[in-house]
């Protein structure tokens, strides 16, 4: 199919139109609008970097970035720990391994909004009741403080997505040649040595993939944030995505929200490009 062939363009027209109208044009407009006083319909003048200067001084926005970064780091660590642990369990020759895979993966199929509501019940009522039963004060009043709201979000995310990360690790674990493990066993390597010297190096690429995948997903989380804590108490558990939505659609500050959205894009892009860079580097080494 050549560039001039009509078939080539016919095959591509629908997606070019869709991507153009839905992503490319709004993205470019958004960049431009972020330097104006655009109110969602019309812009009267260019205001230069005013929005950008303001947003770095806005406490609520900077708090949301900081909260999101902390959340992302905690989730990435927990998710990868559980993802790998679950994968190591279900790739062993145990009777329940298929059933367990099904169970661990299940939360991924259900929307973050619904899961957030379910966990609101767990954290508030179930934790409360267990705390009362065992006399543990720290289990009561969850989601009513910034601290418990933070850990609530981390636990929800780890529970929801660990099964997904597990699947990635499984794909790599099942590719490890059985002979390698057998040979090491015969040579008298302990199970810890086998893990450290064979399994771990061979699943290291999976670690890179999962780390960046979880990092960028945790950065972009919105639904769980909305349904679990709704940003409360006092907007202290509000993440960047939610902050932008609220600036736009609750406070009606469209161009200001758009400037925040541009900063958000830059953060996410840096994370993703770092991943691409590492992947390329690894490919070269291999």
């Amino acid at each position: 199919m050549q560039n001039r062939s009509p078939a080539f363009w016919l095959f591509l027209t629908p997606v070019i139109l869709a991507l153009g109208i839905v992503v490319v044009i709004p993205f470019v407009y958004g960049l431009v609008y972020s330097f104006t006083d655009w109110n969602g319909l019309t812009a009267t003048k260019f205001i230069g970097f005013e929005h950008y200067i303001n947003l770095f001084q806005e406490k609520e926005f900077m708090n949301s970035i900081w909260f999101t970064v902390k959340f992302a780091v905690a989730s990435v660590l927990l998710l990868n720990f559980f993802g790998l642990a679950l994968a190591l369990i279900v790739t062993r020759n145990i009777k329940s391994n298929n059933l367990l895979r099904t169970v661990f993966f299940m939360p991924n199929l259900i929307g973050g909004l619904i899961l957030g509501f379910i966990w609101q019940f767990i954290f508030v009522s179930v934790f409360g009741d267990i705390g009362e039963l065992l006399g543990v004060k720290s289990l009561q009043g969850w989601l009513s403080t910034t601290e418990t709201g933070f850990w609530g979000l981390v636990i929800l995310t780890a529970w929801q997505m660990a099964g997904y990360i597990m699947i990635i690790y499984i794909a790599y674990l099942e590719n490890i040649p059985k002979e390698l493990i057998e040979a090491a066993k015969i040579d008298g390597a302990s199970s810890f040595q086998r893990f450290k010297n064979i399994t771990f190096p061979l699943v290291a690429p999976a670690f890179t993939i999962s780390m960046f995948l979880t990092l960028s997903t945790s950065f972009k989380i919105y639904d769980q944030n909305l349904s679990l804590t709704n940003g409360g108490p006092y907007n202290s558990t509000q993440m960047v995505a939610m902050e932008i939505v609220r600036t736009a659609f609750s406070d009606n500050q469209m161009s200001y929200a758009q400037a925040k959205a541009v900063i958000f894009f830059l953060i996410v892009a840096v994370v993703a490009l770092t991943q691409v860079y590492y992947n390329k580097k690894r490919e070269v080494e291999m």
């Binding site: 199919m1 078939a7 080539f8 095959f11 591509l12 629908p14 997606v15 070019i16 869709a18 991507l19 839905v22 992503v23 490319v24 044009i25 709004p26 993205f27 958004g30 969602g40 369990i89 329940s96 391994n97 169970v103 661990f104 993966f105 299940m106 991924n108 199929l109 259900i110 929307g111 619904i114 509501f117 379910i118 019940f121 009522s125 009741d129 039963l133 529970w159 997904y164 699947i167 990635i168 499984i170 794909a171 199970s191 993939i209 950065f219 972009k220 919105y222 639904d223 909305l226 349904s227 995505a241 469209m254 758009q258 959205a261 958000f264 894009f265 996410v268 892009a269 993703a272 490009l273």
Partner: protein, 273 residues
């Protein structure tokens, strides 16, 4: 030696089962408490209901206008995923078979668009579609094509490396045009990747909340959207809220039950590539 291995396997199995129980505990607690009365929940959420209350489900079913929301969800997800598969497969094929610089640039643009988070285009997008009076189901489906085509084209493009070019040549010699060639010969060969693409997009679109909340009116609400309104109405009435949540996830569980192997394989393929 053998015995010790058996023993360690057994303890791993026990650990796995404990974790498995922990993983489904939230669902268990949701279902059990959905059967309780308000007073029962107040007395405690850990035990069984003193009597099993079905009325919660009836009321939640009515208040969620569940059949209507289910219909809206099925319609929007089905049509969106249908056109994503249709148009992305064509595009992936065209881009893979054209080795020119232009084709490479286009492919790069599609892949690079994946970097852009939804919030970064959301505000102008809603403004543009609002002015065009396209904030409706049709507009939403078109938006899903725009957001979904990047990853899908990427996956189809990758899968095309496994489809020999001699097939194209043979078909052209036999007098087929490009469309016949694609639909009769190439598309059937891409079936495994089509399943992956469809599964990934179904999971995303079925559960999506933010975009439809900005586009659809309450009358056309999908399940997540309706769930949000419903939940707002019943805060502090956990017996009804939990019954509603249980109803809302039943379609997903049913789907998972019938297609779990394809779903897990599809997700695995989509992630590792």
């Amino acid at each position: 030696m053998k015995n010790q291995e058996k023993k360690s396997l057994f303890s791993i199995e026990i650990l796995g089962i404990i974790l498995g129980l922990l993983w489904i505990a939230p669902f268990y607690l949701m279902i059990v408490n959905a059967f309780k009365t308000k007073r029962d929940i107040f007395k405690g959420v850990l035990g069984f209901p003193s009597e099993w209350e079905f009325d919660n489900f009836v009321q939640a079913f009515i208040d969620l206008s569940f059949l209507k929301s289910l219909f809206n969800s099925v319609l929007i997800t089905g049509l969106s995923v249908g056109i994503i598969v249709l148009f992305s497969s064509m595009a992936g094929y065209a881009l893979a078979r054209n080795k020119s610089k232009l084709s490479g640039v286009l492919f790069f643009v599609f892949v690079a668009a994946m970097l852009i988070p939804f919030q970064s285009v959301m505000i102008p997008l809603i403004s543009i579609f609002g002015q065009a009076e396209m904030l409706n189901a049709a507009g939403l489906i078109f938006m899903y094509l725009g957001f979904g085509c990047s990853l899908s084209i990427f996956l189809y493009h990758g899968a095309m490396t496994g489809v020999s070019k001699s097939l194209d040549e043979a078909a052209i010699i036999d007098g087929a045009n490009r469309f016949q060639l694609f639909w009769k010969i190439i598309f059937p060969l891409l079936k495994p990747i089509s399943v992956t693409v469809a599964i990934l997009n179904v999971i995303w679109i079925w559960n999506d909340y933010l975009l439809p909340s900005l586009v659809l009116s309450e009358a056309n609400a999908t399940i997540p959207l309706k769930m949000f309104y419903f939940f707002g109405q019943y805060t502090k009435q956990w017996h009804l809220a939990l019954a509603g949540l249980t109803i809302a996830i039943i379609p997903v569980i049913v789907g998972y039950f019938f297609a779990q192997k394809q779903i897990i394989n599809g997700v695995s393929e989509g992630a590792v590539k």
